[in-house]
Subunit: 81 residues, 2 copies
């Protein structure tokens, strides 16, 4: 069966996120002053052929560890829908 596995990759909390800071500045220039902080990461949708939800999740985690995230700078979360 085909499962959609969602991987969210975000910069670690302790690291600066210059892209997020730039977007925060842009939002404030647009008048959206209620926004206090912005952090930007990646969202990856994987279509995975697997026998069960658990198998799909495991394949998604392997993909996230091996290729999609950099553990020095990023943290990832994997979920199956």
């Amino acid at each position: 069966m085909m499962y959609t596995v969602q991987v969210k990759v975000m910069p670690l909390k302790d690291l600066l996120d210059p892209q997020g800071k730039a977007v925060l500045g842009g939002l404030q220039n647009l008048g959206l002053n209620q926004v206090a902080d912005v952090r930007i990461g990646k969202h990856i949708d994987l279509q995975i052929e697997a026998g069960s939800k658990e198998e799909a999740l495991a394949a998604g985690e392997e993909a996230a560890k091996k290729l999609l995230s950099n553990p020095v700078m990023e943290i990832f979360e994997v979920s199956v829908s």
Copy 2:
């Protein structure tokens, strides 16, 4: 109160996603052949100061429309956690 608003911005389904295709090739080279398709978008966490969850969601949608997404190429989803 401070709300965390999550914005997911993905390329439209009908458009090619060359970054996703490249990652799909990379995953297959790593032996993850059960992955059939990859699409890559952005995940943005906004910290929004608002009086209610609805207000935070509305501000997040405004930010997504005005700055975070390009409606010609992308679709966005906003959620508050």
